[in-house]
């Protein structure tokens, strides 16, 4: 344990200092500690990766090819072959089933959840790193404990509270618990990156006459930009893909979220597998597009917990 080098504390800020074309490398400590290229190939690792790659890609391939065929074509063709004729029919079926509404709902829930998470977590992380208050130290320990509270375990009281607050079947009913359960992780990651900001910078801010609020605005936020983006992406994924809170805390079609819409689609249309695949692809499209555009950030955001 002691021999392990301190991992680069700014795991999540690597995006702001891109390494030479590497997925998550880049910080100086890491580059220095990199092992030289081993002369022999890692054959078991390579073989495992190839097999795993196939296991990952076959279902994704099925999703893609099934979604562009109509049902009869899909049944005649068999699951693995290339589609013979392409059809937009599935798209139509999916869009008729309340998909657009669910898409908009999910987008609203995601944007508000991310905003609320950041508004709460950034000042909290600043306090955790720089405050001398006992309350903050205690709060941080509580956050640590909160990391592994399973959401299912508290869903019954959350349901009770949401009903009593009159929030049942609203977007707020999804947003508030989602944010609450994302906060421990967000604060941990942000605090981790803020520890890298040298004390001299804070002192310089104070010499300039800045109070904590201006320090937060002009030092903390710019310096932790990388982690803020990573945390934002992580919370966005959590909100976009959330299932349990919407399942229990909403009811009407009007408030339906994409994940529930997908599930409904399957219950309603039963064997329309190509339609379902189209719906799944459409629901994941924004995430896939974001991944193509900002893979580095997303990987860093998800790797945050592992970068300790």
């Amino acid at each position: 344990m002691a021999t392990a080098p301190a991992p680069a504390p700014g795991q999540t800020r690597t995006p702001s200092e891109p390494g030479p074309g590497r997925m998550s490398g880049g910080s100086p400590q890491r580059t220095a500690g990199r092992r030289p290229l081993l002369s022999r190939a890692n054959i078991p690792g390579g073989a495992a990766s190839l097999i795993w790659l196939a296991i990952v890609l076959v279902p994704l391939w099925c999703m893609l090819t099934w979604s562009v065929q109509n049902r009869d074509g899909f049944l005649d063709n068999g699951p693995l072959s290339l589609p013979r004729e392409l059809t937009p029919e599935n798209l139509q079926t999916v869009l008729e089933g309340g998909f657009t509404n669910a898409f908009v709902n999910t987008a609203i829930v995601t944007v508000v959840s991310v905003a609320l998470t950041l508004v709460c977590a950034v000042p909290a992380a600043y306090a955790v790193v720089r405050s001398t208050s006992r309350f903050v130290a205690g709060a941080f320990s509580v956050f640590l404990l909160g990391l592994a509270i399973p959401a299912q375990a508290v869903i019954i009281p959350v349901y009770l509270m949401i009903v009593r607050m009159g929030l049942y079947d609203t977007k707020a009913a999804i947003i508030l618990p989602t944010v609450a359960f994302g906060l421990p992780f967000a604060v941990l990651i942000l605090a981790g990156s803020l520890r890298d900001v040298p004390a001299e910078n804070y002192e310089a801010m104070t010499l300039d006459g800045a109070g904590p609020l201006r320090t937060l605005w002009s030092l903390v936020i710019p310096m932790s930009r990388g982690s803020i983006v990573a945390v934002g992406i992580y919370s966005a994924l959590q909100a976009w893909n959330g299932f349990l809170f919407p399942l229990i805390l909403t009811q009407s079609e009007e408030q339906q979220i994409l994940t529930l819409n997908l599930w409904n689609f399957q219950t309603e249309y039963g064997v329309n597998i190509p339609g379902l695949m189209t719906a799944v692809l459409l629901s994941a499209a924004p995430v896939f597009i974001a991944y193509v555009l900002a893979r580095r950030w997303i990987v860093a955001g998800l790797a945050g917990l592992g970068g300790k």
Binding site: N42, A48, W52, P59, C120, T259, L305
Partner: protein, 315 residues
């Protein structure tokens, strides 16, 4: 923005020692800055944590007010043969999930930390399942495993299920849940191992190579011991994750066939939101909380988080 970025090495070293010693004269944020986060977290995570314990001593059907009934739910729970069954299912899912995912993630992660050609592309592709929601993943796999229309009718015969009905037997259904969990989460753990494997000092491998240690030997005597912390963190996350598997079970098997895949979270959901027996379900949830808290303490104890905490308290 106002501050020029200093040399990174200098930054992290000085930043750590100084922040820890609290000797600088900068203005410090008050506790107020942590209040919004504590408020949201407190109301929607901590208060429910206490409430669930209280609810476990009440009778409540989801409407009206919960009524205090003392230990009745707990007595029922402890004498309920269904509890033992769901505990066993949860344990199987958790242990098997760990045993399948850890070696895979370790092997793939260490491989991805190397410098092979195509590694970046392979890593980018392997990562894709993590972007899908749990619900979407379960739905896609349900379609794939459909014995009439899916991939199962093609692949089934290869792996000894000629009918292709893999979800039809209790063993097959459990295996399917474990496999889907691996498909979904191995990429994440692989990423953790990749990051950690890159941090193993190069000179260890150089020395071992000079001593004539082969790759397998190097893996067991250098890589694995150096990744010990990561193994602990990753395993804990994996265990918490598998223990609370819910969407996959709900969508893929709906607890079936029979009660074969009724894990604790699933059973709790059914009791609470299908039968509206909130009291007994809360008792079950409390058991889940206890497990969760125990595991969370393990994370804090064994992972780097505890170091962060001591840094903070070492005023």
């Amino acid at each position: 923005m106002t501050a020029p970025a200093p040399a990174p090495a200098h930054r992290s070293l000085r930043g750590r020692t100084r922040a820890a010693s609290h000797t600088d004269n900068a203005a410090r944020p008050g506790a107020l800055y942590a209040v919004p986060a504590m408020l949201v977290f407190g109301v929607f995570a901590l208060v429910p944590l206490l409430l669930v314990c209280w609810l476990s001593f009440t009778t409540w059907n989801g409407l009206g007010d919960p009524r205090w009934t003392g230990l009745a739910n707990w007595q029922d729970l402890l004498t309920d043969p269904g509890l033992l069954h769901s505990l066993r299912i949860t344990a199987v899912l958790t242990l098997a999930g760990w045993a399948v995912q850890t070696p895979l993630a370790l092997l793939l992660g260490v491989w991805a930390a190397g410098t092979q050609r195509g590694r970046a592309l392979a890593s980018a592709l392997v990562f894709l399942p993590l972007l899908l929601s749990g619900a979407a993943t379960a739905l896609v796999w349900k379609a794939l495993l459909d014995p009439n229309f899916g991939l199962a009718r093609t692949i089934g015969p290869w792996i000894g299920v000629p009918s292709g009905n893999m979800l039809g037997t209790s063993g097959g259904a459990l295996l399917a849940i474990i496999a889907v969990g691996a498909w979904q989460f191995v990429p994440f753990h692989m990423l953790m191992y990749q990051a950690a494997a890159r941090n193993v000092p190069a000179h260890l491998y150089e020395a071992a190579t000079i001593d004539g240690a082969g790759r397998v030997r190097q893996f067991w005597s250098i890589t694995l011991p150096q990744l010990r912390n990561t193994v602990v963190t990753s395993s804990t996350l994996m265990i918490v994750g598998s223990m609370t598997t819910f969407e996959t079970i709900l969508i893929l098997t709906d607890g079936g066939p029979g009660a074969a895949t009724q894990s604790m979270p699933f059973r709790m959901y059914q009791q609470a939101f299908k039968s509206f027996e909130m009291g007994p379900a809360s008792a079950l949830a409390t058991v889940l909380v206890l497990f969760g808290t125990a595991l969370s303490l393990l994370i804090v104890r064994f992972s780097g988080f505890s170091r962060m905490r001591s840094t903070l308290e070492g005023i």
